[in-house]
Symmetry: D2
Subunit: 135 residues, 4 copies
C-alpha cells in the first residue's frame, strides 16, 4: 500500500487518452489526487437520448470511469472495477458534466469509492462502486 | 397495465434510432416483447479502454438501455430509469455483445428488470435496475 | 469447481443452525442444490416495523443469507459475501416469507446470485449479490 | 421541503421503539438532524453468524434503518425505502457498531443517502439507498 504505484494526474491523463471510448465521448481528467478523481465532459449532441438529455449510459460511463480513476489513485494502474450502483436523479440538459469521485474505504487491495455527477442544473446521479487491484 | 401503451419492436427501433448516443455506439434492438428486451452491439475499436477490451462504460450503457427498453415493453415509452447495479465479471475482447433484459417484477407503474451481457467469450456483466412510468 | 467442497442441504442446515442470528429470526433452509438456495421465515411479531409489516432489515437478512447459501452451494462453505443490492417492492404483512436465490454466473472463485423474496401477498423484494470463495 | 414534517431525535426514538425488530436487535438512535442519522448497536451473541462475527444481515439491518431515518429527517415520517446497496468490507467481531447515514441528494420527495458502518475494528460496510416520501 505504501509502495503502491499511485497514478498521478499526468499518468491518469495518459491513461484516459489511451481509452478510445473516453476519446469518443470527449472526457477530461481534471483532478487526480490520492483518493479523489474528477472527470468532466461536454454534453455534445452525440451524447443525448431521444428527449435531448444526456443518455443514462453517458452518466454511467462517467461514474464507471471516475470510480476507477479514484480507485487507481490509491491502488495504482493495475486494477479492475467489480461494478457499481448508480442512482439516476435528474435528467441533464446542459453541460459540462462533472463526475467527482472520492474514496470511502481503502484496504490495500480494495477501494470503495463514491461519485457524484453534477452540472449547471444540479446533481444528476450518484454512484458507489468497488475497485480491486490486480496482482 | 392491460391498457399500458406497450412498445413494439418497431416502436423500440424508432426510439433507439432517435437516441444519438445509441447511434454513436451502434446499438441494435434485436428483440422487444412484453417483459423482454435484447440489444446487440459490435465491439468496434472506439468502444475499448486502454487494454483493448470493452470499456466498462459500454457495458453500463448496454445495461442501462436494455433495462429501460425492457421496462418500456410493459410501461410504455414514457418512463425513467431510477438507476441500476452492474456487476462487471469478465473483460470483453470480442463482440458482438448481447444485452438481454427480463422483467422480474411489474407492478403497473414500476418494473424491476435484470440484464445479462454476454458475448462469444461468455458472460461479461449482470445488472439489475428499476424503471418507473412517468405520468 | 468440479472438486469444490459443495454444501449439501444437510450441511447447510447445520451451518444455519450455528448462526445465532438466524436462530433468533427463525429462518429455515428448505432447499440447497448446486446454484440454488431457498430460505423460509415465519413473519412473527418480532420481525415487524412500526406499521406492522416486515422490517426492511428482515428482507435484507433473507437476501444476504439466501445469496450466501446459494453461492456456497457452488463455492463451498469458506466464502464471504462482497455485498448486495436489494430493491424493496412491496411491504409484507403476512408470512411465511420465502427467499429463493439462484446463481447467474459462477466462475470458480466467484458467484453472482439473484434472490427473489416472496410471500402470500406476492413479491416483496429482489436482490443481486456477489459471493467469493475464501482461500 | 421547508415545510416537511421533519422527524426530531425524540420522534425518531419513539419510532425506533415502536419497531419490534429494532427492539429485538437492541438498536439505539443516537443522532438525528436534518440530513443525518446515526444508529448504534451492541454486538450481542445473538447477532452473530457461525464464525462469531456480526451476521451480514445485522449490518444490512443497520444500513436499511439508518438510511431510512436519514431520509426521514428531511422527508418526514411517511416514507418508504426503495432499496439499497451494501458493500460488506470487513467482518465485525466487536461492537458497538455505529451506522452513520448522511444525505447526498434531497429533492423534496426523494432522498439519496449514504451510510458507513464502523466499529472498534474499523469500517465494516458502506451502503447507498433511496428513500421516498409517501403521499
Amino acid at each position: 500500500m505504501d509502495a503502491a504505484p499511485q497514478i498521478t494526474l499526468e499518468d491518469g491523463r495518459a491513461i484516459l487518452a489511451s481509452q478510445p471510448f473516453s476519446r469518443l465521448l470527449g472526457a477530461r481528467l481534471v483532478q487526480l489526487e490520492p483518493g479523489l478523481a474528477t472527470l468532466e465532459l461536454d454534453l455534445t449532441d452525440d451524447l443525448r437520448q431521444q428527449h435531448g438529455v444526456a443518455h443514462g449510459g453517458v452518466l454511467a460511463y462517467l461514474a464507471d470511469n471516475a470510480l476507477s480513476f479514484c480507485g487507481g489513485s490509491l491502488l495504482g494502474p493495475s486494477l479492475r472495477s467489480s461494478g457499481f450502483t448508480i442512482e439516476l436523479l435528474r435528467p441533464a440538459r446542459t453541460g459540462p458534466l462533472r463526475a467527482e469521485a472520492t474514496t470511502v474505504v481503502f484496504s490495500g487491495r480494495h477501494a470503495v469509492c463514491r461519485c457524484e455527477i453534477t452540472g449547471p442544473e444540479g446533481t444528476h446521479a450518484v454512484a458507489q462502486g468497488r475497485v480491486t487491484a490486480v496482482a
